[in-house]
């Protein structure tokens, strides 16, 4: 049986060989697992949505399964609600074993294509595996146009511990700041994801802080909209969904605690 390093070596070789000038990227000897992993991740990030061999998938899935589960996995049972049906949890969303995690996507919906970029879209696609981009590409090809802000699309989550990924595109905030339209688009992101989760009969959904990363939505205002929209949805539709607000930074944790726990 291959060990993790053998698997990585195979995956890197495969990805380099399918690139026209891939060998140039190979650079010098890669010694550590970390270096190899970073190269693998970057190659997957820039890889187009095209067919891949069964052997690659098998090897990648074995690698990612071990890599993803070699961390503390968090389930809903591990958490305490802060309000009825509402949970707050700080950590890496790709370690959550819940029905659906929400990905902050862009309007191409194919995952981050910048090698090793430090964003949630990148890490979700990397840890899910190359199948996720193929699944998104299929959705987008069928749709025939870019994904509008404020909507939601569901895919399998492949090698992630969650069952599904719900992809939503938030509003991008430029130098002119937040406008009523953008506030409404952010609220639509939350309500569209909740509606889709209910349509699919899911029990639990974990939201990241949509649009607050690369899309520059101010964190405090985004959290207010997120919480208000979720609460309104749950009560209006008598939804039984459990909702986890997943924060990654200490700043967002404080903001959500103030809004949810200390209110």
């Amino acid at each position: 049986m291959l060990n993790q390093e053998d698997r990585l070596d195979y995956l890197i070789r495969y990805l380099l060989e399918e690139k026209p000038n891939g060998q140039e990227l190979a650079q010098s000897e890669l010694n550590s697992m970390d270096e190899k992993f970073e190269l693998f991740r970057g190659l997957c990030n820039v890889r187009e949505a095209k067919l891949v061999s069964d052997e690659f998938i098998e090897t990648q899935d074995a690698f990612l399964t071990e890599w993803n589960h070699d961390r503390k996995i968090t389930r809903l049972d591990d958490l305490q609600p802060v309000q009825s049906q509402i949970y707050l949890w700080k950590g890496d969303i790709t370690t959550l074993a819940v029905d659906a995690i929400v990905n902050a996507a862009n309007s191409r919906l194919l995952g981050c294509t910048q090698a090793n970029h430090d964003c949630i879209d990148n890490i979700i696609h990397t840890r899910a595996g190359v199948q996720l981009r193929l699944a998104c590409d299929e959705i987008m090809t069928e749709q025939g146009r870019m994904e509008a802000a404020g909507k939601a699309k569901l895919t399998d989550s492949y090698n992630l511990p969650s069952s599904y990924v719900i992809h939503t595109v938030g509003p991008f905030i430029d130098e002119r700041g937040v406008s009523p339209i953008k506030e409404q688009l952010l609220a639509s992101c939350y309500s569209s994801c909740l509606k889709l989760a209910d349509e699919q009969g899911l029990d639990t959904i974990a939201f990241c802080c949509i649009a607050t990363g690369e899309f520059n939505f101010p964190n405090e205002r985004a959290a207010e909209i997120a919480i208000q929209t979720v609460k309104e949805y749950l009560s209006k539709y008598k939804s039984k969904l459990n909702v986890i607000f997943n924060v990654f930074s200490e700043e967002d944790l404080t903001i959500y605690e103030n809004l949810l726990v200390n209110e």
Binding site: S107, R145, M146, E147, A148, A149, G150, K151, V169, P171, F172, D174, R176, S179, P180, I181, K182, Q184, L185
Partner: protein, 110 residues
Amino acid sequence: MKKRANFLFIEKQDDVYTVSMTPELQDDIGTVGFVEFVDEDNVKKDDPILNLEASKTVLEAYSPLTGKIVERNDKAVSEPALLNSAKTEENWLIKLSDVDEAEFNQLEDA
């Protein structure tokens, strides 16, 4: 009479209601590069009426009223930047008939 809803203007003339872009929406989305209308003629309030791809965002616009689409701005499909114009003759989206006038009257004045 002119009203606004869903970030769009609605102008009533006889029994035809013309839906057009507001300056706020134009500012928010940037230069429009692609326009695609829905095929469905009968729309309810808040149903999608068109998809816009603009320089700053990709957006689905929703009908401000229930009614029947009797005309679409097909010129904007071949020349999407018309939707950035300040003139209603150029930046209109759809014309609706069979609208409940009471529903229209309840909308916010523009």
